[in-house]
Subunit: 335 residues, 2 copies
């Protein structure tokens, strides 16, 4: 199968087909669609034989450093890929940064035969990057986006509101009333959902949420958990419980307590979020909100493949269930 044959079938010139393959912008959408359809039909193009037979998906991380949480994601997508016979290539911000040259990045992925991109980023990908992927018709699925993307973006997330609600409801059921919320990024959609879930449970129980008990660390890392956790514990009276919006932040709060000579859970209850492996390894083991990472990976991969096959998907955004996991970092308050 050659360019010339596709060009003939499509009734266009070889030059035009070449442009479509290379993702050049100067081709009418209608022409582009017709050519891509024929390429797919003839098994050609970004879908050359070799690449077709050994399909790959790009799992892209928009972070400088991968965290503990990302291990779980990699594992879940790799496992889901294994079931479908799709190899998972891990990409990361770095030497071949999509931000530096979105078009080159997208063309590279298309040429290398990636079926789709699954992206894990703090924000949604920038619109030049999304446009570049669009131009080479590379489907994109956001996995656990921190911000709620608009309708034009397909994404898979977790039920953050319910998670926040469950954490607060559990602490309330233990008898806590003075409960602090320690968030990561204030304006992220996921943070807002968790915070409002928290508030909603507190309000339903008639418990106040004074402003000094709501704070944001700006990141989800332990170092900031220590810092902001310390600040919360310095309040008078201090909270009897802290709900942190990641396991790492929660681990930081445990360390902040230790530095002040407080014991968890005797003097302070702590609840995390995500249920990464870290939660089983802190001392004491963390009560936390289990995030559906494995399920998210599987759904993201399936959705990505559906998009790649031009199948209809049910919804541009789905949220999978979170669940409270009680371990040993929580206990009724003293007295």
């Amino acid at each position: 199968m050659t360019l010339a044959k596709i060009a003939e079938s499509a009734g266009v010139s070889v030059a035009t087909v070449s442009k479509v393959i290379n993702g050049r912008p100067d081709v009418a959408q209608q022409t582009r669609d017709k050519v891509l359809d024929l390429m797919r039909q003839y098994n050609y193009g970004g879908y050359r034989d070799d690449l077709r037979a050994y399909p790959t998906v790009e799992l892209f991380f928009g972070f400088e450093r991968l965290s503990i949480y990302h291990t779980e994601i990699i594992q879940s997508v790799v496992d889901a890929g294994a079931r479908e016979g799709i190899a998972v290539v891990v990409g990361r911000r770095g030497d071949h940064d999509p931000a530096a040259d979105p078009a080159a990045w997208a063309r590279g992925l298309a040429a290398a035969g990636r079926r789709a991109v699954i992206a894990v980023t703090a924000n949604t990908l920038s619109s030049p990057i999304r446009a570049a992927l669009d131009r080479v018709r590379m489907p994109l699925v956001l996995l656990d986006p921190e911000s709620l993307p608009d309708n034009s973006i397909v994404s898979v997330g977790a039920t953050n509101f319910s998670g926040g609600h469950a954490a607060a409801a559990y602490l309330l059921s233990l008898g806590h009333r003075r409960i602090a919320y320690l968030g990561g990024t204030e304006h992220a959609g996921s943070n807002q959902a968790r915070l409002h879930g928290f508030r909603s449970a507190m309000e339903a129980a008639g418990a106040r949420v004074p402003t000094e008990l709501v704070c944001h660390a700006g990141t989800f890392h332990a170092a900031e958990g220590i810092e902001h956790g310390g600040r919360l514990l310095a309040l008078s009276p201090p909270p009897t419980a802290v709900f942190a919006s990641s396991d790492e932040l929660a681990a930081g709060v445990i360390e902040a307590a230790r530095r002040r000579g407080l014991r968890v859970p005797e003097d302070l209850s702590v609840v995390g979020f995500d249920d990464t492996p870290l939660a089983q390894v802190t001392s004491p083991p963390l009560t936390t909100i289990h995030g559906p990472v494995r399920e998210m990976g599987a759904v993201a991969l399936r959705t990505a493949l559906q998009l790649a096959a031009d199948e209809k998907i049910d919804s541009h955004h789905v949220e999978l269930a979170t669940q409270l996991v009680v371990r040993e970092s929580t206990r009724p308050p003293r007295d």
Copy 2:
């Protein structure tokens, strides 16, 4: 870089270079060698073949579950790959288990265009698997093998003996004498090296290592650290310090101490191994032996590519330096 340039450098025609690339028989061995040399020198892959143009390496994990430590490995190999333009495919024991059908697995990798396999496993890969890789001429590099592989296997590891020595020497310098060793897998080469490094420092200082202070958890996970750590702390007199051979085991020892009402580092010093992100997230942050994960990933990838290019490698096994990192889980013993 084009065929024409290589042809010019080699003083032959473009046609001849083309034949060499395509493995045609009608080229003199001398001419062939000269051309191949130049191709390597100029990093020319031949882009007729899609798989050649978008090279991949398989990063294979022989574990049921990926641990925190493995995130670091993935990150280091992906980064090293990005620098060389090599995509890293993550593979794992699971649906397409190499153990189930080594030949099919190896052929699949070869067909999919993998340049080499970098394997992270508890033991060296089984000999049927190694034989199968050999048969398709797929180079194999073991990354941080727990057992010392024989000469026929290429591997990159860490200086475990020095690491064990440094941990013991540091605890001794703080004044500890009754120091326990908590290993992972007893008969693994890495464990033996760490244990003997530990012993060597103890002996040099004239400190005894009674048999009850040396124990093996069988795994490197926190759960077993809690269990065996608890046993060590139940001795009378208990040790004043524990050197655990992974950060997770060390985290388990911290938890075992908490359960007995002991504080780290006031009542017990704990040293870990690896310096995974976990070490900065425990409470208190762990004093540990930094493992050269980033460097190992880079060296493993470079070595794998050298093997793939039929280049000579310096040594079938190299060990990269470990280093003591002092945080807050260690302190002189009481009195």
